[in-house]
Assembly symmetry: C2
Homo-oligomer: 344 residues x 2
């Protein structure tokens, strides 16, 4: 697996990784690690090696590193599993488990068990999976701390758009007053197209489904539930609150009409599905997803599938960040930054 | 100086700081450290103590920490200096020199000598001063590396808006293709007001001067030189280029007319003073400041005195960050994040 041109010397550390979940994000992580391997070794002195991947049937492993072809063959069913996913997590020697199975906000599974098992096996965890974080944030962070391991999850909120690390690192020293933003690209696409093309909700939703922007069952997105889960993660990780999904006040975009968009437009506003969270306390607690009027010249007015968040701070004032909220390579970018962050 | 309520235990590390330059930024840093001291000790386990401050007459020092009152009295001339600035840097024991003297792009002084002396005295340096970085970036970084010390400068570009640390940390693993943005709040204010109020350049400039947004001699800002210096810092620090101020192609905003703004507006654009830099190489090298057309719905279209930068990456796509580019507390916020970053 050692590529030509990679400088392997005493200063290079091999970091062995498993990827659990070979959906878009998991395959994106494998692709990005393959594409960036030499550059990462050169710049950060770490040699990333994928020693196992797991999907529904179980796991395939290779301590020398799995090739692109081996991962593809396993995903397509041409090769069968070597062991169960949990056995891979526990028994195959490696440093980082990347957990990218689909979000389940009922009970967090199977991601929750994967993450707990990984931490109990003394492995770092990097995840894009919102379910376990929304349901068991405190328990998981305590487990990670007790094992001296990191649990990182930048990809779970805003895709490629940095927000959790932005607040924790770049705004260190600032008190964070609130975070407010568009955290669901599907809803943003629908509202943007409705406004620009004067087309009704059902029409634009159908178009979004045809273009792969909305899922066949779009309800998690359009009812605001996806945004709500992300808000819970921000509330717990940035504001040290102890909330779960049921604590969020949620309204979606299904009732937004062309007339409402037109009225807003005439008054200098757009309508966006906004999630807002603050630190709670005496001035009232905010943990809310709802369609809201946004002034056209406000930084939160971004179009298409973009995500955006405005972070209100006590020193730096308002900081806004805009980026692609979805896409396999974009999410993999956030996973990769988290991986590198563990060793920087 | 120990405040009530600060948990001083074995895990708390005292970090002694000197501040050189008691202009807006330097005083902002002193103010922010005072205001945030207990919170920083609690969250990061470091106790920040200002053991010296220096301004034109020289330096005052107190190994037990200078009070707010002592700093004020020295600044107002009620007390005199204890020693020269260079003696303070060399002889007073401390960990971090915060250099905030005014930018000088002719020869970088006096900041350049302060920074070199600090690094040679084995102190970390955090600076908001663009001159030394624009003129001697490579030499200064090599000196810092040879001493095993950090030289950090988030406040030098974009004020409170994170950009250097954003690229280096949050987008780690990404290849950075280009950075494009509004890096001067004074120019943005002038162009925004001209467009919105249909007032000519000279009128708005005068208003900006009255409001303290433009300086009495506004030429560094309006001629694009301030933006150019910031681009040089981005070129050297993020793109590993070896350029200096004279390599930048610069045009300012003094020739922008109401007619030009109106024509742009009719076509769906605004005019902004845009700085753009890329990694150079075969596809041509960009290092340019010029008024440019920006589509109204582009994330770069921000108004007032805001700064903005769009970072084009190979994995995460375009990431845009918006924030306050100026202001003493905002710049101090960036200095403080750099200080904390040294110990995280």
């Amino acid at each position: 697996m050692k590529s030509e041109g990679v400088k392997e010397d005493m200063n290079t550390k091999t970091v062995r990784i498993s990827i659990i979940g070979l959906g878009n994000v998991g395959r994106g992580v494998a692709e990005v690690i393959r594409r960036k391997q030499e550059e990462i070794t050169r710049k950060y002195g770490i040699n990333l090696k994928i020693v196992g991947v797991a999907d529904l049937p179980g796991a395939v492993v290779d301590e020398n590193g799995l090739s692109e072809d081996a991962i593809r063959k396993f995903k397509s069913g041409e090769t069968t599993e070597d062991m169960t996913t949990l056995d891979m997590i526990k028994d195959v020697e490696h440093e980082i488990v990347v957990e990218t199975t689909p979000t389940n906000v009922e009970n967090g599974e199977p991601g929750l068990t994967h993450i707990i098992t990984a931490l109990e096996s003394d492995r770092h965890v990097v995840t894009s999976n919102k379910g376990p974080l929304a349901l068991q944030y405190g328990k998981l962070m305590n487990l990670a701390a007790s094992r001296g391991k990191e649990l990182k999850f930048e990809a779970s909120v805003g895709g490629a758009m940095p927000i959790i690390s932005l607040v924790k690192d770049n705004l260190a020293g600032n008190g964070i007053i609130s975070i407010k933003g568009i955290l669901n690209g599907t809803c943003n696409y629908i509202l943007t197209r409705m406004r620009e093309e004067k087309l009704p909700y059902e029409h634009v939703l159908k178009e979004a489904q045809e273009r792969g922007i909305a899922e066949t069952d779009p309800s998690n997105d359009v009812a605001g539930r996806d945004t709500a889960v992300k808000l819970v993660i921000l509330a717990n990780s940035i504001f040290d609150r102890h909330v779960s999904y049921k604590d969020v006040e949620v309204a979606g975009i299904t009732e937004i009409t062309l007339e409402a968009l037109k009225l807003a437009d005439d008054a200098g506003y757009v309508i966006k599905l906004i999630g807002e969270v603050d630190g709670g306390g005496s001035s009232g607690e905010c943990l809310k997803v709802a369609p809201r009027l946004v002034p056209k010249d406000d930084p939160l007015n971004v179009g298409g599938t973009l995500n955006v968040a405005t972070i209100k701070t006590d020193l730096a004032g308002d900081i806004t960040v805009i980026g692609k909220g979805a896409g396999p390579i974009e999410a993999a970018s956030a996973v990769l930054s988290d991986i590198i962050g563990i060793y920087m």
